[in-house]
Symmetry: C2
Subunit: 259 residues, 2 copies
DNA sequence: GGAATAGTGTCTTTTAGACATTATGTA
DNA sequence: TACATAATGTCTAAAAGACACTATTCC
């Protein structure tokens, strides 16, 4: 390829090289990039989120989303995956990670101009998390309780609200619900329970079954049955997630029509 | 509030203050935040996007999205609005701005670790843009042509693809289409044309009319009529956008079922 | 009046909600 | 056998696609 360049193009490459040699980002006011994780799971029949209690300044002692600074040799995506691995060691392969939004109000972090790229993660029923280095404690809390009661660090309340809205919306038109289930094989009732918990509604079992079964490529039947969780109940068929990326037409959460 | 603090809490505040006094972001490897804008409009019956030809290094001479560095006294949102104002002076009040995604692969910018927060903007039929300081030229191009033919700077092709997908999706369930129209009053045919151009499909006029009119709070009839654009055509009723924030049930773009 | 688009109405198919009915595994 | 949930089926209502038909305005 090089040998085909004419003089003008070589000059251009030289000029670009020359420009970069004298370019120094350090000249400008310092900025930094962090990543924050809204890690959702289902615990005790409630939608829960992982919070850590900050062990260091700033906002020492407050509950916050897990996260940290992005290193200059990694993408934000990689930083998010790294933090997720540290904070929720279990069942990483089955977890789901998606960029939510970037938060960048000046003054959102007292240490300086620090933007946070927030991610949403969905993980299966998890073991209890372990607190990291600069962390007093790490625990799952019901999202509802967090939003109503907690005094959260930075702008993390806003991030959690946005993340919750994202998860609720995405269950409608993407096959994310199985990401909450710890077993690759699950019953339709278990799947329905995920929807009910995340959306905070009751769904008609018959209609839910008909709907999810009608989505081509969403559920695949597998051998075997799961015994009922309730005494006297009938055992149920098992399914596993298939390969579709969108649900069409979508499932709708009751009450979403009034915004 | 202060007078209610006990000694322990005062100590905590002092400690936080002390911590911040010695904290210096400059200690860490330099990072920087930029904003890039995918400004969509409709020109010559096609969906178009604003590109600038870079006048300076890096990527000098290549076509790129308008954008620039975020200042430390402003939010990314404000930076985006500032850039939008500079690049598309016309009809700012009617334009729409929404965060798209943050791009942060190391190496995406040769100047160093620079993350870009991308925004999508929708603007009405615009005057020709004027090139800025470090810009050779600023022009609208049909999105289709850009994606098929152009050699774009940085990762801007990916941003444009993501932005296009976002706009197409959002037309389904939000009342964004009027943002493309330069007049606050418009006909249903004009509105339908927006959908057809953005989605790249033909829509049945009767069914489209029925659908948008059935969405409560989407369209409001106004006095007067608009003469036909075609000779011999019937004049049509005028509407203006109302106050709803979501369209339920959504309009669906034909062909979206197969992903 | 003719042309061309605006606007209305109708028929059919698909999908969702409500709910009755049957099936099956467990105590 | 009784019970509880799983799974299926039915009826109805809502919504979308196809398309015929009427209305209005401009030439």
């Amino acid at each position: 390829m090089i040998q085909e360049l004419n003089d003008g193009e070589l000059d251009e490459l030289d000029a670009e090289e020359e420009f970069l040699k004298h370019y120094d980002l350090k000249k400008y006011p310092a900025q930094a990039v962090t990543v924050d994780l809204a890690i959702f799971t289902i615990r005790n029949d409630r939608l829960a989120i992982l919070l850590i209690q900050r062990g260091d300044h700033p906002e020492k002692g407050k509950w916050a989303l897990p996260g940290g600074f992005v290193n200059v040799h990694e993408s934000v995506e990689e930083a998010a995956a790294r933090e997720l691995k540290e904070e929720a060691t279990l069942a990483l392969d089955k977890s789901y990670l998606e960029q939510l939004k970037t938060y960048a109000n000046p003054g959102r972090d007292p240490r300086g101009y620090i933007v946070s790229v927030a991610y949403v993660a969905l993980i299966p029923k998890a073991d209890n998390p372990v607190a990291g280095d600069d962390t007093n404690e790490a625990r799952f809390f019901a999202v509802e309780d967090v939003l109503s009661d907690f005094d959260l660090a930075f702008d993390h309340r806003e991030i959690i609200k946005d993340g919750l809205a994202r998860v609720r919306a995405k269950l409608e038109y993407t096959p994310l619900a199985p990401k909450f289930l710890d077993d690759a094989q699950f019953t339709i009732s278990e799947l329905r329970r995920v929807y009910e918990i995340v959306w905070g509604v009751e769904l008609n079992p018959s209609n839910f079954r008909r709907k999810v079964q009608s989505v081509k490529g969403f559920l695949e039947p597998v051998e075997g049955k799961r015994a009922s969780q309730v005494e006297g109940g009938r055992a149920s068929d098992l399914y596993c997630a298939s390969d579709v990326t969108t649900i069409y037409p979508p499932l709708r959460q009751p009450g979403a029509e009034d915004n």
